[in-house]
Amino acid sequence: MHRSLSRRDFLKLSAMLPVVGFAPALVKESGRFFAQTALPNILFLVFDTLSAKHMSTYGYPRATTPNLDRFARNAIVYHGHYSGGSFTSPGTAAILTGSHVWSQRAFNFQGTVAPEFERRNMFRIFETAGYYRVSYTHNWLVAQLLNQFRPDITYWKPVRDLCLTDTEISDWLFPNDHDVAFSVERTMALHNPSGAGSLFLSMLDQVFQTNNKKRLSEKFATLFPRGLPTNEETTLFILEDAIDWILKQASQAQRPFFGYFHLLPPHEPYNTRREFIGRFDDDYIEIPKPIHPLSTTSFDEPQERIFRKHYDEMVAYADAEFGRLYDYLLKQGILENTYLIFTSDHGQMLERGTRGHLNRLLYEAITKVPLIISTPGQKERVDVLSPTGSTDILPTLAHLAGQPIPSWCEGRILPMLGGEATTGRSVFTIDAKSNAKHSPITEASVSMVKDQYKLIQYLGYGGKYDDSSELYNLKNDPEELEDLSASNPPLAADLRHELLAKLKSANDSYRPV
């Protein structure tokens, strides 16, 4: 029997029409929603100034990184990973842009990337992929870079928010001209640790900052007997606050998220937490090495031993806080759908008469940094021995986020994450801080690692170091004690030719915008 459509039925059907009309859009959006929630989170953690040589994870005799050792058991450990630069500005810029220092040009102290690289960064790639992008750093030099990438970061937490003191004004007063304003503030205006400040107000500010520092140091004296960790002597912080905040982001941030967190420890001063002081009062002595002629300091071996011990204590403190973060992520099940990446922007020289990283030397202590990556739900350790570089991280993350590798990117996808371990590939670290940003690089130290060989080329320093090289076989001589450039001149010449050709090509092709 034919049943006619009642008025009620007709009205019901009519009410369905908008739903039918929007259905394709809804299906598309829900597909996108589920696709995004299916995308893995990326938690990218950088500990500043961490040398792989001082990590037990990489064979250091002192147990400096037991928590990173635990992490490594369920991660990919890259044993030949090299920073892009010898200090924060170039090293971090290489990570965030996937480009060599001679391309992105952040090789000066307080350096920033060239204008054409401001939109060529890791955050932008994740923006395209629909990620929530969050970032924090203790380090003012990193903040200068992040400020350039600010439009591509969903939430960039100000440095001061996780510090105990607030010493900068240019970031909130002049956010649109932060680079120049901060340079002036740092150099002249109020709190310059060396050189000229303003005539009257800098002295007043110094009194205020010093008294504030004393007050806070006394307050935390039980926990930090040597004084609080600090960035440039006036910005005091405790690492625990940053780790607590990162824990919160990991659990509460919108999914999928990309979090880039660049924390200062174990950067000097080595004001470590109480329980780590004296931890390495042992008999361990490093292999003595000659003082390098280009060393800008002249510490003797007993002094170096003390610095090394204090540095190791700071590494252990940073490792303990990493352990706290790692345990939380494990317990909450966050690592089931998250890539956890751990690395550093550069290492630290505590040998050859040199302490620090703002020098011209590019030995393994300063160029070789940790890179440990766990994939979602990874339960086994994988070791990668082939050389990799900081510029490789961006293309790898792009690949993991399902995005195309940008044409301007100079790195490669890391082995075990979509890339292949190849032989014959050259990985570079550069120190060129004395060159003008917009001019060819003529004064530099450049290190090139190719398979087991490492060439360190010195250029433009005058005298013997105007154009000279050192060659090491890292497999047979990991401590870089035997310079092979005289005993194996053909190999040295080949590698040198390749390095200089690369530099020449970079110089020839760079045109300031």
């Binding site: 000066n108 307080q110 920033t112 001209d177 002036v184 503030e185 002249m188 050189g195 005539l199 009194v207």
Partner: protein, 171 residues
């Protein structure tokens, strides 16, 4: 309240060492700036430096203007400009030395700080006494400040341009 002319003179006296030191600071940092800043950014860095110097000059001027309002006129014996000049110039010499040697008063123990302040006050008190006793010296200083005040217009113009550049760079 000091007259407009006196206020301008006081400002000129305060601004002179501040601006000179600011230029010195800029030139000190210039080798680092020039490595990585382009021409417009170098102008920007100078503008921030001069704009801050303007602020610092105004802040330095304020205590003297306030003192001249609050304290009885006979204290200054109508020599507010001369006395300010002496105080500012002596203080500037001390501050230049402190800056150059990276003195941090915050690290001074109370005894050392009192000694420093005592020495400072002596070096201020002696020339002030001389100036008050010998009118001729006061007149010479007044003449110097009068000519210096012409430079105020230069400072003001440079500082105004600097502030404009700072605003332009930020908005």
């Amino acid at each position: 309240m000091p007259s407009k002319g006196d206020t301008a003179n006081i400002f000129a006296v305060c601004a002179l060492p501040v601006f000179l030191w600011a230029i010195y600071s800029y030139l000190y940092a210039f080798p680092g700036y020039v490595l990585r800043l382009n021409a417009w950014d170098l102008i920007g860095a100078l503008s921030y430096t001069l704009a801050f110097a303007l602020l610092e000059s105004a802040i330095t001027t304020l205590p003297f203007v306030i003192a001249s309002v609050l304290l009885p006129p006979r204290i200054f014996k109508n020599n507010i400009v001369v006395l300010t000049t002496v105080i500012v110039l002596v203080t500037s010499i001390w501050m230049i030395d402190a800056n150059y040697h990276q003195v941090n008063f915050g690290e001074y123990e109370i005894g050392r700080f009192i000694l420093y302040v005592t020495l400072y006050l002596l070096t201020v008190a002696v020339p002030i006494t001389i100036v008050i006793r010998f009118d001729r010296i006061g007149r010479i200083i007044q003449g110097f400040v009068g000519r210096l005040a012409l430079l105020v217009y230069v400072y003001a113009a440079l500082a105004a341009i600097a502030v404009l550049i700072v605003l332009l760079r930020n908005f």
